[in-house]
Subunit: 116 residues, 4 copies
């Protein structure tokens, strides 16, 4: 089984080619599908308290795991369609965030960087 984002991307490319799905997988459509899956994930939490969300029963955790997978798979396909390396993009964003949220000013607050 594919065990990295790059391997998953390769697998999905073949999966979609086999089904002639490239025609449907414009970045615009994949971005829509990504939001739809992210919202299905959120649906599991919408009426829970934060405390309940930190302590899911096993069957709920499994269901949430399936939604995590859906989000990840569409994200990989979208990035692949655009020639974006998600790991490199994440690394770059980590550096940005470290600058935007210095420890001494960001500690213990959820404010956005422009309100710190």
């Amino acid at each position: 089984m594919p065990d990295s984002l790059a391997e998953l991307a390769k697998h999905l490319r073949q999966f979609n080619a086999d089904r002639d799905w490239h025609q449907f997988h414009s970045p615009k459509n994949l971005a829509s599908a990504l939001v739809v899956e992210a919202a299905e994930l959120l649906e599991h939490f919408q009426w829970l308290t934060e405390a309940e969300s930190r302590d899911l029963p096993p069957e709920k955790r499994t269901a949430v795991g399936a939604e995590v997978a859906d989000v990840l798979l569409y994200l990989i396909q979208l990035a692949d369609a655009l020639g974006i390396d998600p790991i490199a993009a994440a690394q770059s964003k980590l550096q940005t965030n470290a600058q935007k949220y210095p420890v001494e000013r960001a500690r213990g607050t959820s404010r956005k960087y422009d309100e710190l």
Copy 2:
């Protein structure tokens, strides 16, 4: 720099601990943040045609890459908070999808598995 989902998760755990952000990062809140970032990604495509979305100018592609990173980073944090392995969840979903969408019936159609 961290170069896998597992390494990114570890890095983010430390980043958040340094800022005492665990209190804000309930799965419920992380799921909201994930949808918000996915929607920011979609915003780049909302008025584009599908053809335009397949051919982004470089500066737009860079901006989209930053949103891809935001989605991935929240997804990693959410999965980490719940003890979910995103790669394993994705592998499991790939098997499900292969069964739900057999090549001969799914080829060339965007219908859902229950309408094939």
Copy 3:
């Protein structure tokens, strides 16, 4: 000023015609814009506790009001583009919900109707 959904729909139709925006306002695109605005609304709440969200400071409440407006305006345009009467659709849904969630079984629980 327009003071009902029907009047707002009429106003928006003219607003868009004046700008030749009909070409961009396919239902597909309007549905994307609707989600994007709904997520901007959610962004205001993502790190708040539920208690904090029930007691917004005035300037935050104003900002949220502007997002409520954005969601409503896109919803009106989408319904108008599809020939859907939102009030009639809401009335129909109220009847469905009354059947799905009878008082005696739904009281005090956030479970979905199929789990009551």
Copy 4:
């Protein structure tokens, strides 16, 4: 049946009071539910072309109407919980938009106001 946003808000207040649902209906939770419903609406369009979305078959249009209702009903409840008048908020936003998008500059382009 209630036939305006104000009447719908009143009806929903009673509906929720009868079921003791106020405890779940924090603005934070209602904002999540709103996004979830908006995404369910988008799901109907995600693989359609724009042209197809302008010409829905009747049963699809009915299904979309039910989602329009869900979005509207949560929007009304969220606004009601925050003491926001959605029609007044929409009127205010119409004025803002008229200033941000003057006809002569906005005609025929989907660019944002800060890029006109």
